[in-house]
């Protein structure tokens, strides 16, 4: 086995300066530094939005379930991720108005601007960064989607629902303009207010008698359409006691605005008392 030795040779001279040098030269230009600073400043100004959005969502007691927690986490992360790129675009916008030259007047300006036809590094960098961000958002979204599908028992079909004492099945029927909740495990008691025991998986079988409604448990982060002639499944495990909102989220005719009711998430004892009072048999 022979080893070929490559003799040391002086590097062939390239007159293209090394990339670090080019970056340093570029950063020495005042506008580059200004825009970077402005981006950071605007980014920090936008940053509170991430919390303000959650504050607005939490006004009425959310998150009251693991699903809603996942949703809020997603909203938070997406806000954080989109702030740098938004801040950069806003910084360039602002700088192009007040930082670089500006002319007014009725006649077209005599002086033309530098003819920057393209910038290979800029284009590649932008494509790479925006694709990476999009890729991150997709991956995050897919994982979260799998997560909330599992948390809302979306993978369990109607005939697989356990129906034992450790879970509650609620058959939800939408009709213009009321929601009806039937509890088949409790002698089929029927209610217009959604009572749920805390920390127990709840399976919803949702359907409609007339038009499309949308079954929205606002603070629990559950939403699924109630379609006539079809049953859609979803579910949730409420983990916070309280009174929450249930609204219809699909235009369903004249009194769509009034098609709302209460969700009462209560302790197991209160739930049992309620079912007894409504005439259902005792569980647990």
């Amino acid at each position: 086995m022979t080893i070929t030795l490559i003799p040391d040779q002086p590097e062939s001279p390239t007159n293209r300066p090394p990339s670090m040098h080019r970056l340093r030269t570029w950063l020495r230009r005042p506008y580059a530094r200004h825009i970077l600073i402005w981006t950071v400043v605007i980014g920090f100004l936008l940053l509170p939005l991430a919390w303000l959005m959650l504050a607005a969502m939490n006004q009425t007691g959310a998150p009251a379930s693991e699903i809603m927690k996942d949703i809020e986490q997603t909203v938070f992360v997406f806000t954080i991720v989109s702030i740098p790129i938004t801040a950069f675009v806003f910084a360039v916008l602002l700088y192009s108005l007040v930082g670089w030259k500006q002319v007014s007047g009725d006649e077209p300006p005599m002086q033309d601007s530098p003819a920057i036809r393209t910038n290979r590094i800029g284009v590649i960098l932008w494509t790479f960064v925006s694709s990476a961000l999009a890729f991150f958002l997709v991956v995050w979204g897919l994982i979260e989607l799998a997560q909330i599908t599992a948390n809302s028992y979306g993978t369990i079909s109607a005939d697989q629902q356990p129906g034992d004492n450790n879970s509650v099945i609620v058959n939800v029927t939408g009709q213009q303009w009321v929601w009806t909740f039937a509890y088949p495990q409790h002698d089929g008691i029927v209610s217009n207010v959604l009572y749920l025991p805390i920390d127990k998986p709840v399976y919803f079988n949702v359907t409609s008698k007339d038009v499309i409604h949308s079954f929205w448990l606002v603070e629990l982060g559950v939403k699924i359409d109630a379609n006539p002639g079809a049953i859609t499944q979803t579910g949730v495990t409420p983990n916070k006691e309280g009174v929450f909102n249930l609204r219809c989220a699909e235009l369903c005719g004249m009194h769509h605005a009034y098609m709302e009711t209460e969700i009462r998430v209560v302790s197991q004892e209160v739930f049992d008392a309620w079912t007894r009072e409504m005439g259902g048999m005792r569980t647990s």
Binding site: P13, N15, T25, A56, M57, I67, M68, D70, I71, T74, V75, F78, S82, T86, V89, V92, L93, S96, W100, S104, E107, P108, P109, Q111, D112, S113, P114, A115, I116, R117, T118, N119, V123, W126, T127, S130, A134, L137, V138, G141, L142, E144, L145, I148, T149, S214, W216, G221, K223, I224, D225, N227, G229, A230, A249, L251, C252, G253, H255, A257
Partner: protein
């Protein structure tokens, strides 16, 4: 060596005056024909066709449906006949050839203002007509918007009955969608694009007139529906809710069916023109970006609108003939309707947005005196959006329970679309980069568009994501988001485009001061209205409701105040348009110092646009001087040569 023979070309002989019966037809005869035939159809149907519960067969079960349908069809056919839309085909069947004089008459040669009231084929006349129709539809939709916000601002009582409120939200939606679709492709696509590519007219001048007058025929159908109970089901007109709707919904369906034909005709015409009629030397890499934008919008319209049309035809047939395409109790599917509808619904958004982005990219080089940054990247962005636009429709159906497994791929494709849209954003900010901003009204509109577009784009990312959409779907957040896209980007882009092309289209400059006041008032009002609407959405307010819990009161009050500011701003802008059109400063041929072809023609543009057809010899946007800062980074040319030699 070739010999040129003098061959007598046989000319068709002229019978009577040029134009023939066309001379007697105008908008007046169109109205008369439409109303007349509508009355005839209506009387015949009401007298001789048994309908309603009394009829033996279950046919058009809702009282009055059939009569209204007949009236609408009579109006459309009669109006088109009265305008002279059928003259061409009839003459062709009878074997009468069109002479040169006929063609000139049809194009409105030497006819003064009356040509705007006729079935005129000249693309410049059609462009102006489109502009007027757009303003009318905007006025209609905008008035309804003010009514909606009034209802939502008055939180202590119901101003309108719930059914009328539902009617105005649906009608506002579809009126604005129609207006936004035509606002750039109509006036600017028809007036400017043929000149921009160096053609004398569109490829099919008569189809051009046809598309415009079909639109004019469709608009009264929509307005009439408000008086017959309206379409109370949102602009999406979901089944089976519309089965309960009063007859007014037929007005919506006929509008869509006719409008889809109009759009199809216009799309084919624009695409053919752009493909085949670019002047000598205008290769694809020398074609201005606006032309690409209009082409992309036409292409998407061409495949999206048939879905919409079919969905409405099937829906109409469910109603009139008791078929059950969408009736789940008789084997139909509500999800089928939703799919057909959103197969239109999403490409349609890009039909609106791409021309507005293209207008921006067309404007910035002129006002920044720079070439467009990375022209190829801009085309790649447009191609990417067009390619993905047809693959994302079911993101409107995440929560329908239609196919939970389909949520995964549709989330993927939807979030991918942010990459090509990002390309366009880079092109825009790259063109702004280090430019000298000539701060005129059109450029200011561009700034407004980019600002709104960023907010709309970022909020769109939340909605493209299934978990976040599970909270936002069907709520005010969605409403705020799409208004940022359609109004914030689309409408402000149209304002910029109109301000930019106003001198070419009307011969006068749009009043800078009044126009700017209008633009910025609208912009501020817009931020107030839809910014606080985001808050209402985050708090959990569903859309399309007229009453809501007290916690939403404050954001709705703010929203309503903002909406009135928008109303004032738009009226100021409209005043600027009207005053400038009547008595503005007369514009020279090229007031912006632009280098593209449309500004090289005299103003007003002569009938056949160019005395001699131009030849294009360079890329568009050849503005700018060599960059003085380049010397710092790039080696001098002789050094480059040396280094190449040593390698």
């Amino acid at each position: 060596m070739s010999v040129i023979h003098n061959v007598e070309v046989p000319q068709p002989t002229q019978h009577g005056a040029a134009g023939g019966i066309m001379r007697r037809l105008n908008f007046g005869t169109g109205l008369a024909g439409g109303i007349g035939l509508a009355a005839i159809f209506g009387i015949i149907t009401s007298q001789f066709v048994p309908t309603g519960a009394s009829s033996a067969v279950t046919f058009a079960p809702i009282e009055g449906d059939l009569v209204y349908l007949a009236v609408l069809l009579g109006w459309v056919i009669g109006f088109m006949a009265g305008m002279g839309a059928f003259i061409g085909p009839i003459r062709w069947v009878l074997g009468r050839e069109e002479t040169h004089e006929d063609a000139e008459y049809m194009a409105g040669k030497d006819m003064g203002k009356s040509r705007y009231w006729k079935y005129t084929t000249d693309h410049k006349v059609v462009g102006i007509q489109y502009f007027i129709v757009t303003l009318i539809v905007f006025g209609f939709g905008g008035t309804l918007a003010m009514l909606i916000r009034t209802e939502l601002g008055v939180t202590w009582s119901e101003v309108f009955s719930p059914s009328f409120y539902n009617a105005i939200i649906g009608t506002h939606g579809i009126a604005m969608i129609i207006a936004m679709i035509i606002v750039i492709s109509g006036p600017i696509g028809n007036f400017i694009v043929p000149i921009m590519i160096g053609a004398r007219d569109m490829a099919f001048p008569r189809l051009n007139a046809l598309s415009l007058w079909l639109l004019v025929a469709a608009v009264p159908c929509l307005i009439s529906s408000l008086f017959l109970g309206g379409m109370r089901d949102g602009w999406s007109a979901y089944q089976p809710l519309i089965a309960q709707a009063p007859s007014g919904v037929l007005g919506y369906q006929i509008t869509i069916i006719v409008f889809a034909i109009s759009t199809g005709v216009a799309s084919v015409n624009l695409m053919t023109t752009i493909l085949t009629m670019r002047c000598k030397g205008m290769t694809w890499s020398r074609t201005p970006i606006l032309v690409y934008g209009i082409f992309a919008a036409s292409l998407m319209g061409l495949y999206a609108f048939p879905f919409y049309q079919y969905s409405q035809i099937l829906s109409l047939s469910d109603r009139i003939f008791n078929t059950s395409f969408f009736n789940p109790l008789e084997g139909g599917s509500v999800w089928l309707y939703e799919n057909l509808f959103w197969l239109l619904g999403h490409p349609e958004v890009y039909v609106i947005l791409i021309p507005s982005m293209a207008i921006m990219m067309e404007l910035i080089p002129v006002f920044m005196r720079k070439p467009l940054f990375s022209y190829n990247f801009a085309i790649a962005g447009i191609v990417g959006v067009v390619a993905l636009s047809g693959l994302v429709w079911a993101h409107h159906m995440y929560m329908t329970g239609w196919a939970p497994a389909a949520n995964y791929p549709f989330m993927l494709s939807t979030e991918m679309i942010s990459i090509p849209v990002g390309f366009l954003v880079l092109v825009v900010i790259g063109t702004l980069w280090r430019g000298t901003a000539w701060t005129r009204l059109p450029l200011m509109a561009v700034y407004a568009v980019i600002f709104n577009k960023m907010i709309g784009g970022v909020t769109g990312v939340y909605l493209s994501d299934v978990p976040a959409d599970q909270y936002f779907h069907g709520g005010m957040f969605v409403v705020a988001h799409f208004h940022y896209m359609l109004m914030g980007a689309g409408f402000f882009g149209a304002m910029g485009g109109i301000a930019f092309y106003f001198p070419k289209m009307t011969g006068r400059i749009l009043d800078e001061r009044l126009g700017s006041i209008g633009l910025w008032t609208t912009f501020i009002g817009f931020q107030i209205t839809f910014g606080s609407m985001f808050v209402a959405g985050l708090q959990g307010q569903p859309r399309r409701v007229l009453q809501f819990d007290e916690q939403f009161n404050i954001s709705n009050w703010i929203s309503t105040i903002g909406a009135y500011i928008i109303g004032i701003g738009v009226l100021i802008f409209l005043a600027a348009i009207i005053f400038s059109w009547k008595s503005g400063v007369v514009a020279s041929g090229n007031p912006w110092g632009s280098k593209s072809l449309e500004w090289q023609t005299p103003t007003p543009v002569p009938l056949d646009n160019f005395a001699v057809l131009p030849v294009v010899t360079e890329r568009p946007y050849e503005y700018g001087v060599p960059d003085p800062l380049d010397a710092e980074l790039e080696p001098a040319p002789e050094e480059q040569l040396e280094s190449a030699g040593t390698r």
